[in-house]
């Protein structure tokens, strides 16, 4: 907290990632300031989701550094080597980084309320009563107060994703990662999820959003990065990148979205 205001909430520097022979991230550099919303766009298979999964160390990296709030994620810097942290440390780091998945991944055997209090109680050891109070407030904030005792399968996709956001918020994260949060939704349900995300952005949450919703990226995103082939092709303010892209590849990619929104 004593860091100067300029220090980024997320800094990604020179990150490489390989799956066997296949290099999916080829040296990624990114900064996201506290309170900023960065949208990652790009064709499928470009490495956006993998990059997101590296930020909370769901995937290991092969080279480079990722810092969240000044803390090196997943590794300990031992001079010339990066040594992977013990599980306990990694879990502690992940607990402070929220993640929302394309397929929601709500715990199917737990009710909405139980989904939201699960991690605070089991991981943070928050007293149950306190966790329930916070959970009810968050479930209310995403507009699902009357669904608190329902099981996920009884909810629409949009409702499930809103619960998933509440579940991530219950850990009071410093940074929220969204992995294509509306890609699995019926078109008429996309709006309600984006609405919740917009409100979070307005509240000053730091967010990294992998998305194909160009309207959302333009309106809510402070900055946009276009990724293709495992590298950042172009990055800048959302109006720059989406309205007046400098690169041919960005233009070709964006041309496919013309008229969709």
């Amino acid at each position: 907290m004593s860091e100067p205001a300029a220090a980024p909430m997320l800094r990604v520097a020179g990150v490489h990632k390989r799956f066997r022979r296949d290099e999916v991230l080829k040296g990624i550099d990114l900064d996201v300031a506290a309170g900023e919303v960065l949208c990652l766009i790009g064709p499928s298979g470009s490495g956006k989701s993998t990059l997101l999964r590296c930020v909370n160390h769901l995937e290991s990296i092969d080279d480079g550094h990722i810092w969240v709030d000044g803390q090196l994620i997943g590794y300990r810097d031992a001079g010339d080597r990066l040594v992977e942290l013990p599980e306990r440390e990694i879990c502690r780091q992940r607990a402070a980084i929220g993640m929302v998945f394309q397929h929601f991944n709500l715990f199917a055997h737990l009710t909405v309320l139980e989904n939201v209090i699960e991690a605070p109680v089991a991981v943070r050891r928050v007293p149950r009563g306190e966790a329930v109070r916070l959970a009810r407030e968050l479930i209310g904030r995403v507009g699902l107060a009357e669904k608190a005792d329902a099981y996920p399968a009884r909810l629409s996709g949009g409702q499930q994703q809103r619960v998933a956001i509440a579940r991530a918020l219950a850990m009071q994260p410093k940074l929220l990662l969204f992995d294509e949060p509306t890609s699995a939704l019926d078109p008429e349900l996309v709006g309600e999820v984006l609405e919740v995300m917009r409100a979070l952005a307005d509240d000053g949450m730091t967010m990294v959003v992998v998305t194909h919703e160009m309207a959302f990226a333009r309106e809510v995103g402070d900055r946009v990065a276009f990724i293709d082939g495992g590298a950042i092709v172009e990055e800048g303010s959302s109006s720059e990148v989406l309205v007046a892209p400098r690169h041919e590849r960005t233009r070709a990619f964006l041309a496919r979205f013309v008229g969709t929104r």
Binding site: R94, A108, M171
Partner: protein
């Protein structure tokens, strides 16, 4: 008003009649069979020796099921581990114990003293009583089958559930215990119930090392009075009681899990 006449199904009627007559004939043949003395059956049905054997059978099955389930979960987790050594060992265990006859395994443990005269400071025959040998043999065998059942159950849980648990800061162990295994349970219970019924009947095999179970008790009596069929009927009755009760319990458990896991198999 026209009368509604359902389609005629003469072959269905004929097949039903044949099956009914055959069953009735068989029942009469057994009931009136001069070689079966029903008074003997009645006398031994609740005899103390038989009831003692029944208790041994139940205890054997329960102990083996507890050991088998524990081993099954442990080996299933090993089977899914990152270490090739653990994976290999778990696969070897399942291969060995599923690939050899249970009867051979029981005889092996019952005759362990022929291989090792002592186990640490103890004499093998003092430790490996027929009962202990029976529990060890049945438990290890059960573990091999349970490991496959548990592994299938864990694999049936969507990978995203584990990812979400990890992303919230749960350790591997916590994610398994709180998120993955509870959901795997709904998939595990039906085959595990069948497995327990098989185990109840498999306990009868320990009669070859005088395990003291229900069948051993029945055989002890029939070898003295030569009423083999009658005492087999006595044992049969009790095995059917046990398996019927188990099926009932399994049914109730499945219903309960279906309610708790309303989310897993949603049926609106």
């Amino acid at each position: 008003m026209a009368r509604v006449v359902a389609q005629r199904r003469p072959w269905l009627w004929l097949a039903s009649a044949i099956v009914f007559v055959a069953c009735a004939a068989l029942a009469v043949a057994i009931w009136r069979n001069p070689n079966i003395d029903h008074r003997i059956v009645a006398r031994y049905q609740f005899a103390p020796a038989i009831l003692h054997g029944l208790v041994v059978t139940v205890v054997l099955a329960l102990l083996s099921a507890v050991i088998g389930t524990t081993l099954g979960v442990a080996f299933a987790l090993m089977r899914l581990s990152r270490s090739a050594v653990l994976r290999g060992f778990a696969a070897f265990y399942a291969w060995l114990f599923r690939g050899t006859p249970l009867l051979v395994q029981i005889l092996f443990w019952g005759n362990l003293a022929l291989l090792f005269q002592t186990l640490g400071p103890f004499r093998t025959n003092d430790v490996m009583t027929p009962f202990v040998a029976s529990v060890v043999a049945l438990g290890l065998n059960e573990g091999a089958y349970m490991s496959e059942i548990v592994r299938a159950g864990i694999s049936a849980v969507d990978r995203g559930q584990y990812d979400a648990a990890q992303a919230l800061g749960m350790s591997h162990a916590l994610a398994m215990r709180r998120i993955v295994l509870p959901q795997a349970l709904a998939v595990i219970v039906p085959p595990a119930g069948n497995q327990f019924i098989s185990l109840l009947k498999a306990t009868s095999l320990v009669s070859v090392i005088a395990g003291g179970d229900l069948l051993t008790a029945a055989e002890n009596i029939s070898s003295a009075n030569l009423r083999t069929i009658e005492l087999m009927l006595v044992a049969t009755f009790w095995y059917l009681v046990l398996t019927t009760l188990t099926s009932l319990g399994q049914h109730l458990l499945e219903k309960r899990l279906a309610r708790a896991g309303a989310g897993i198999h949603a049926a609106d």
